[in-house]
């Protein structure tokens, strides 16, 4: 759902450039004290993975395709603002090197796919996870909340894009005739998003739970080093 150039008016893309620019500065400020050197490779790997995964459009019926987004994956793996920065990198590279998403629309695309689908959905995810973890295990709470909010991240990002196109009123279509097909398709794409996100996080949780930033529970299986003394 990268918005190309020519579909947004100045007040919309200008405002969203401001918001996204501010959010990027805030994210850099926010992560500077918590970003350990050893986390930097994970930042790079996550960004590269998301870039590669976004290339693979899959059909969602009726001659429409969609692709993985990855904002919630990045936020859960690295932390909300680290994840936001990863998405800013991916979207900026796509825009400047591949003309995927317009240059004027870059602020809007960052707003939709990095900020709304990233930290905003992550904070809702965090509330859901902590509410659930009173009754369920940390792992179940995390993965269930992740499925729901990674689905929602795609839907909300597409709804924001539909709203921006309506406000700009350059394509001169009423809100409903933009919103329904765009959000409808993304409700299906969101299922793929949730599946991929949950699978990746499940695999990493199984292998190295300490690499999943949002996971605060104990190791799911004892590391071999610890096993030596305490095999049950």
């Amino acid at each position: 759902m990268h918005i190309p150039d020519g579909l947004l008016d100045f007040k919309t893309w200008g405002t969203l450039y401001g918001v996204s620019g501010g959010a990027t500065a805030y994210a850099l400020y926010k992560v500077k004290d918590t970003l350990a050197e050893k986390k930097i490779p994970m930042l790079g790997i996550t960004a590269a993975f998301i870039f590669a995964a976004q290339m693979l459009n899959f059909p969602v019926g009726a001659g429409v395709s969609g692709h993985f987004l990855g904002a919630m994956l990045a936020c859960v793996m690295l932390g909300p603002w680290e994840g936001f920065l990863v998405m800013v990198v991916v979207l900026t590279v796509q825009c400047l090197i591949f003309a995927d998403g317009g240059f004027a629309a870059l602020g809007a695309n960052i707003f939709n796919m990095a900020l709304i689908a990233g930290p905003l959905c992550y904070f809702m995810f965090a509330i859901s996870k902590s509410a659930m973890s009173r009754k369920f295990s940390e792992r179940t709470s995390l993965l269930t909340s992740l499925a729901v909010f990674s689905w929602l991240s795609v839907v909300l990002a597409s709804a924001a894009a539909a709203l921006e196109l309506t406000i700009s009123n350059i394509i001169k279509l009423p809100f409903a005739s933009i919103f329904s097909p765009v959000v409808g398709a993304n409700m299906l794409i969101g299922i793929g998003e949730a599946a991929i996100t949950v699978i990746v996080v499940t695999v990493v949780l199984q292998a190295r739970p300490d690499l999943v930033n949002a996971y605060k529970g104990p190791p799911l299986r004892k590391l071999p080093v610890e096993e030596e003394g305490s095999l049950t």
Binding site: E37, M55, V89, T92
Partner: protein, 124 residues
């Protein structure tokens, strides 16, 4: 090196190998992605408003000079992976540098990793 290849790091290496395999598979599969328009293009293409696309070095995920559309897409995917990796590492280094500068005199104090205290801290 001994710790790097210890049993403790086996999971990390397997994870790294899995990630690399998936990324290679995605690069190889990139030309087979659905060519259908995405939901936004589908809606806007009927309105007749031209999608002005920006000029960019690897426009439409094609590398100029690489023969064959599929090969061109794969090369562009591979280049994109490396460029994204490099830029993300640079942003990480920038944030880390900002943090070190912010902490001022305590340059040698490592950043407080959120992961600390809940897992092995000596990853590769």
């Amino acid at each position: 090196m001994k710790t790097l290849f210890s049993k403790k790091h086996l999971a990390l290496w397997m994870l790294a190998a899995a990630a690399l395999t998936v990324v290679i598979a995605l690069v190889v599969a990139s030309p087979w992605a659905s060519k259908s328009p995405d939901s936004l293009e589908k809606v806007t293409e009927k309105t007749g408003v031209a999608n002005r696309s920006t000029a960019a070095p690897l426009k439409e995920y094609q590398v100029p000079g690489v023969a064959g559309k599929q090969a061109s897409t794969r090369v562009s995917a591979l280049l994109g992976v490396f460029i994204t990796l490099a830029v993300a590492l640079a942003i990480g280094a920038l944030a880390s540098w900002l943090g070190r500068r912010h902490r001022g005199a305590n340059t040698l104090t490592p950043a407080t990793a959120p992961a600390d205290g809940r897992g092995p801290s000596d990853e590769a």
